[in-house]
């Protein structure tokens, strides 16, 4: 049951159990929620680290070879595909990093734990 509930819903459900007199279930729900949150945060931190590393590698490739990259990327015409494709790839990798990084910091949209 708890797999499909958001953090807010879990709290409300726990309150409902407590009000109905089932304090054991209410407490279990909250403890389980807290444990799951801790595990999820650690998993997010690992993912953030991996995506962050990939993002840093992409930046390093560009900056280590900046003369070659600048030359190729500024030739115009069909070479325009290079900067466009690059920003798409970088956005995917760095966007994933940013997503997990914010989750690790506990910054999630309202209602998600």
């Amino acid at each position: 049951m708890d797999m499909k509930l958001s953090g807010f819903e879990k709290n409300v459900a726990a309150c409902a159990f407590a009000e109905a007199g089932d304090f054991k279930t209410a407490k279990e729900m909250l403890v389980a929620g807290a444990k799951k949150e801790g595990v999820a945060r650690r998993a997010d931190a690992v993912k953030a680290g991996l995506w962050g590393l990939a993002s840093a590698c992409l930046l390093a490739i560009v900056f280590v070879n900046e003369d070659l990259v600048t030359d190729l990327y500024t030739r115009g015409k069909w070479f325009a595909a290079l900067p466009i494709a690059s920003v798409f790839i970088f956005t995917f990798v760095h966007g994933s990093f940013a997503n997990y990084f914010l989750s690790t910091l506990g910054l999630k949209p309202k209602g998600k734990k």
Partner: protein, 460 residues
Amino acid sequence: MKRLIWMIAAIAMLVSLTSIPAFAGGGGDPFLGEWALTTDKTQSFEIHKDKKTGVYSLKDASGELALQKKDKHTFVASGPDGDMVLSLDTSSGTLTVEKNGTALAYRKAIRIINLTPFNFTFLFLVGLIGGLVSGFIGSGGAFVLTPGMMSLGVDGLVAVASNMCHKFPKAMVGAYKRYKYGQVDLKMGVIMAASAIFGVLVGIRVQQYINEILGDAGSNLYVSFAFLVVLVVVGGIVFSDARKIARTGGVETTTRLAKAVQKINLFPMMTFNRAKIRVSFWFTVPIGFATGFLAATIAVGGFVGVPGMIYILGMSSLMASATELVIAFGMGLVGSIQWGMLGLIDIRLTLIILTGSILGIQLGALGTTYVKDYVIKVVMGTIMLMVAVSRGLAIPVYLRDLGWMTFTDTTAYVLNQTSFGVMCLALLTGAVIILNSIFKGMLAEKRAAKLAEAAVHGNV
């Protein structure tokens, strides 16, 4: 109807890709700056323009040569070793120099600026704050970047191109995030993006026409004046509306104008399920068009697009600001392809800005889930009015360039710097309001969770 929408969008994209003139979309006079020989980049020259006399000159290793403008895209010069003709091909961005029967092709040189830790940090931070604002209000986060990059020594056109190339992936991430939060009306976004692209095309033509008639200073004056009028009028409406909503309990209501527009039954009527509105196609098009038109002329399309969707179509602030990100993606992608085809994108600058802005836009997007709708109006209204002050400060400088006002160079410098400072302050103020609102929203959520926990444990 879905097929019709996609067809319109596809046609708009194709038309725009083939007809946007090169060097369009701002960044100043395309002739100015450094040009390098395509076959040997070590051979280059620079074209300068004297601000007071308006005279162009070519400077290379052998000295300086005065240029005479023959027409819009051609210069002629008489040198010691014969006449020289410089002609700019705006479709390819190539400057052909003909001398003694031989023609050499030059392209705009990408000036590799030294990316010091300061430059890196500056671009990252502006990207981060700009991303935060864009993620929250749907636009307006990148207007500091072009002048900011130029102040670091980046060529005006390269600054515009590199800024544009970071905008569309940023908008894509923001749109995706907010779509997941149920805040984007994709159908509305696609229709608006298609009409915005047409708006960009017309806007560029108008901008070029004004530039031909009034010259650089006159064009700058027009842009600043249009900026000022749009920002004061629309920003004033948005800000006073936000204050009114805040006083009356924070609940948004549909405007009378929007209700009247929704009642007009003009074929084809369209239902926007996410936005929960039904309105004629013909009312969505002008708003998209105006967004594109202003994006091409004064670079702040979202400042009319978002209020247009709220006050004329009757969308909520949350939905309008999120849908604006789809429009920004469409316009940004088309613009970036154009700039890329001219070879003016400095990918290093784009990537540094992106590192900050992708982080910022995700924070801004998730922040919208913690605040009441009207906070978006507060942030937007505040930024618009502050940017209006910034533009107002720049107007006397353009009037001076036209010879309609006289004051010293020092005063002009102070006015320009203050104008840029106020613009940065506008972005910072917006970011502070956003972070404060997110912080308060999160705190309230945590308090509610703790109260629930305390209620349970208190009973155990």
